[in-house]
């Protein structure tokens, strides 16, 4: 529907995966795991991507950013806002970038000299949180284009977990489910209403100590400790009502959503959530649950899966997609949008 007010739409998205792939069995084979656990069978993850030596969060993000700008057909200096949502923010030496925002460096690399820049931290839900802010800023008429970007150099937590005795530190096991990657979305101004909608964003803070990422106290780089089962229970307990509320809030019909993307902690976990959703709301038209070879790339997971779908020719202009986002904290929110014009033909 056209209106006199400003609205926002998805103009482009892109993801980048570093070339190197690592098989899960090479670091989490049955011989490596407590009780000879079959980790591949348990998670459904067969491999992930890892950065090259010279790459960190910034370098990954810039790759996705350049691709998203090219696909949008805009100049970098037309971006009025860049929000970075990386959890990792690490350089190739495993130093953590603190200040100014990583988005400042991204803008500098992309030549986006007119963009306001800052970072949002909301764990794996950071990109969708940032997209909410970007959408609001476009609707206010203050800017025409906004980019939400993230580069996740997160695989050092695999090495950290491997150094720990996993029998004694079972909370490190979830660290074996991650991969590196980056994603970027560009939103633009439109007169057409309803091309992007957000659910109510919710934080279930009773789970705020179930997944903690921080610098390792013993050596260079980060660590993550997770009460994975309890956290997953938190999601599964609330996901049905959350989706029901979200459909009402966004005025959507479940059977009219063409593509569904959930945060893939593991493909197995997504299957569980999908079963709850299907039992409650009906069949899912197209669930994109193919993170088996990319693993959990933290905040960038939905972008990575969207890129895969695009490459596989599954996406058509003006079809609709919903992104369901979870992040430690425990944050849950969703975004529904019309796929950008020309998506099918992007290179």
């Amino acid at each position: 529907m056209e209106s006199a007010k400003n609205h926002a739409e998805m103009v482009s998205f892109a993801a980048y995966l570093p070339e190197k792939t690592v098989k899960t069995t090479s670091f989490a084979g049955t011989k490596d795991m407590p009780r000879s656990l079959d980790f591949v069978r348990l998670t459904g993850i067969t491999s992930h991507h890892e950065v090259a030596k010279e790459q960190g969060s910034l370098e990954l993000a810039v790759q996705a950013g350049k691709k998203a700008i090219a696909r949008a057909g805009i100049e970098p200096d037309s971006l009025g806002l860049i929000i970075n949502a990386s959890v990792s923010k690490m350089n190739p030496n495993l130093d953590q970038h603190l200040s100014p925002s990583l988005a400042t460096l991204v803008a500098s690399e992309l030549g986006a000299k007119n963009a306001q820049t800052f970072d949002v931290s909301n764990a794996c839900a950071g990109m969708v949180t940032a997209l909410m802010i970007a959408e609001s800023r476009i609707k206010s008429g203050k800017i025409e284009y906004a980019m939400v970007i993230s580069g996740e150099f997160i695989t050092p937590i695999i090495d950290e977990a491997k150094r720990r005795n996993l029998y004694l530190t079972p909370r490190a096991i979830a660290s074996l489910t991650v991969g590196d990657g980056s994603a970027a979305y560009i939103l633009g101004r439109t007169k057409h209403e309803g091309r992007i909608k957000f659910s109510e964003p919710i934080t279930f803070a009773q789970y705020n100590r179930h997944c903690i990422g921080q610098a390792s106290k013993r050596h260079r780089g980060p660590q993550m400790r997770t009460k994975a089962r309890d956290l997953q229970n938190g999601v599964m307990t609330n996901i049905g009502i959350f989706l029901q509320r979200s459909l009402l809030h966004m005025d959507l019909k479940w059977n009219e959503i063409d593509h569904t993307y959930s945060h893939p902690t593991t493909p197995k976990a997504v299957k569980k959530g999908a079963k709850i959703a299907s039992d409650l709301l009906g069949e899912i038209n197209f669930l994109h649950n193919d993170s088996f070879d990319t693993a959990n790339t933290a905040s960038t997971t939905h972008g990575v899966l969207l890129e895969k779908s695009q490459k596989n020719g599954y996406l058509q202009s003006d079809e609709t997609a919903i992104i369901i986002s979870f992040g430690s904290g425990l944050a849950i929110l969703a975004m529904h949008f019309n796929l950008p014009k020309g998506v099918k033909d992007w290179s």
């Binding site: 350089n91 100014p100 925002s101 400042t104 839900a125 950071g126 106290k217 509320r245």
Partner: protein, 234 residues
Amino acid sequence: MLSWQSCKIKPTHLLKSTLTLVKETIKMANIQLEDIGLIVHGGVYKEHFRTEPAFATHIQGDLSLHCTQLSMNSPHCFSFDVTDGSCSPHIALQSIADLLPSMKSKYALLCVGDDRPTKHSEWNEESYCFVAVIGMSGDGPRLVSVDFDDHQLNPNLTIRGYFDEQVRGNKVVESGTTTYAETKHDGHSFSGHQRWLSGQHMHAFHSVMDEHNDTHEHCIVDRSGKSTTAKWEF
């Protein structure tokens, strides 16, 4: 801004101090804790360089705010962090201004401050905690705009956390040197020292604002040269 409070804090007392100030500011704003639907924290340094979850979720959790299972009508709260050097408080304010109008709840908490990340980190900073209740309407100062200026940005002036092999611990390291801008207060405008952390900027501006209600422009210049200016109307 319906109410605000700030205090100087010990190097690792950010969460504890924030919770105390939240309770005071909510009382001052004459609302109930349950009325809060959004918490945004702005700052740079977190305990052990924590990357997830957002610090704001710890504030929400320790306040036991809407920490219940979801039902079709249950109220809820959303919490996240923003950061952009010492300009973080203005980014947090802007984010609240962006999101609050579309939320069911009409009140948000703005929380600002930094913790010394580790005992190995040199810490000559004065750390302040600042908390404000932001509402969609009320008698307090009204945020008119937040503008940014990156013309003085030097992207080589960065701060990183790194592991020092000699002390076997994580430290903070600053790259590059600069001459810091001093505190300025001329009539309607206030700008704090460029070396200050986020919380001190907010503490100092609101102390000035409490005394001179004609001061309605607050400029924060980050160490990197980036700056933001918040304009207030009384």
